[in-house]
């Protein structure tokens, strides 16, 4: 579904990604793990059209999307739950959700999607008319996930969904990510919380200093000495 080949990207004059290649197949949960500054966010931003890669290609459903503007990529069915949620603070919960349905193919059926999201997050329904800036951190994250689902995505990217949340909330969010996959949405998950990510994903790529240093089935990665030592503190 998504294929990245030999991607090189810069932040200013600094090269952040070096020959990154990865692929995500339909129906999978794929994790990209790595420490802070490893290039995870830049990788995500090159998929979303926020960073223009210097070389290499990003292909979604057989079409090159590197170099396309963000809105065109969103129209194709790629959505994101940004780090920290990035909900629109001065809009109500409901309006935030409606913004998620902005792509044409989703807008017509937004009422249906709204019902589905409220079913998934009853708390959002309760707070329908509240401004998003009055929500707690966990609720904002839920709103951001709901907003992403409103677009009827084929591929949903998660940028550090557990960042800054209480452990109970983290557990809930990760359960929801699994539920979303069961609904037929393919998931690409970027996480610093390596253990959690490897527990729910099918496959994972380990990013270190802008290079993919390991990849494979999560069950295997969890057994690897390098992962245990560097990321799991064992």
């Amino acid at each position: 579904m998504l294929e990245i080949r030999d991607l090189n990207a810069f932040y200013g004059k600094l090269q952040v990604l070096w020959n990154v290649s990865l692929q995500v197949r339909e129906g999978e949960i794929v994790a990209i793990v790595g420490s802070n500054g490893a290039g995870k966010t830049t990788l995500l931003h090159s998929i979303l059209g926020l960073v223009r890669p210097a070389s290499g290609s990003v292909t979604f459903l057989g079409r090159r999307i590197d170099g396309l503007p963000s809105y065109a990529i969103a129209e194709m069915g790629v959505t994101v739950v940004p780090e920290g949620g990035r909900v629109f603070p001065e809009m109500s919960v409901r309006e935030n959700l409606e913004m998620g349905a902005y792509p044409h193919r989703a807008w017509e059926r937004r009422k249906e999607a709204l019902k589905y999201v409220y079913q998934l997050f009853p708390r959002l329904k309760e707070r329908e008319r509240q401004l998003a800036r009055t929500l707690s951190g966990g609720e904002r994250q839920m709103l951001a996930i709901g907003r992403a689902l409103m677009s009827r995505p084929k591929l949903c990217l998660f940028d550090e969904p557990s960042y800054g949340l209480a452990p109970v909330m983290v557990k809930e969010i990760f359960e929801i990510i699994q539920k979303i996959r069961e609904q037929g949405v393919t998931v690409l998950l970027v996480e610093q919380n390596v253990r959690r990510a490897l527990e729910i994903a099918d496959r994972a790529y380990v990013l270190e200093n802008g290079r993919i240093c390991m990849e494979g089935e999560c069950a295997e990665l969890l057994e690897s000495d390098h992962i245990k030592k560097a990321y799991l503190g064992m």
């Binding site: 926020l50 809105y71 969103a74 129209e75 994101v80 913004m99």
Partner: protein
Amino acid sequence: MKILLEVLITGLLMGGLYALISVGLSLQYGVARILNISHGEFIMLGGMTTWALYTALHISPLLALAICGPLALGLGYLIHRTLFKRLLDRAPSFAVFEGNSMLAAFGLMFILQNIALIAWGAEIRGYSYLSIPVHFLGTLFGANRLLTFGIALAIGLAFYLFLNLTRTGKAIRAAAQDPATAGLMGVNINNVLALCFGLGAAMASVAGVLISMCYPVHASMGLEYTVIAIIVVVLGGLGSIPGSFLGGFILGLVGSIVTFLEPGLALVAYYIIFIVLLLIRPTGLLGR
């Protein structure tokens, strides 16, 4: 007592026009991040065009509304697409863009003003339209004043509903709060920014048409209205439409009271309000 009522109503009627002017600027600065110094020139263009249409071709100012609004919308959209979009692409940050775009707007102001001077000369122009006295709350007012007030309110309300109820309106609000995230949700930001600049220009030119129905117009009238619009926007709170209306009414009332007491001091009073406000509440009355 009757005089006081007259002064107050005059202020409110003026305030409606100020509000309309300011909503446009608020949109351009709040969403497109352009402190549009040439805002008043679009008011002038609206007013002068209406005068020209009325005197040369006997076209009703109400019809001029329907001509000037869409024309200014198109012109503003085009100016953003060609001029400001390039500045935005080149600027490393929004802060740099704000500085550059303000300078570009200064240039635009001189260009538009001089085109108007060449086309229509520097004379003060006016025409008489619907200046029939009407009894209103025990006082007498020109029918044109009441009509322009009603139109200004209606446009303000329509625009408020547009922003809150339509798909495009919501996209504008989302883009004002977080342009990058709005883009990720599928909003074509460049289109929205150009649309905002165009809508701001359209509201200015419509306000210009309304102003010409009540007051004389001339090619260098723009800057005074730009200053008023900036003060009202800061007074009401940037990006807030109710704020623009509140600010517009306050400034209209102050202007009318001060003009009644000492006609030369209205602009001075505006500046005093501006300075005091910046010291006490720089985010404006309804700003956050």
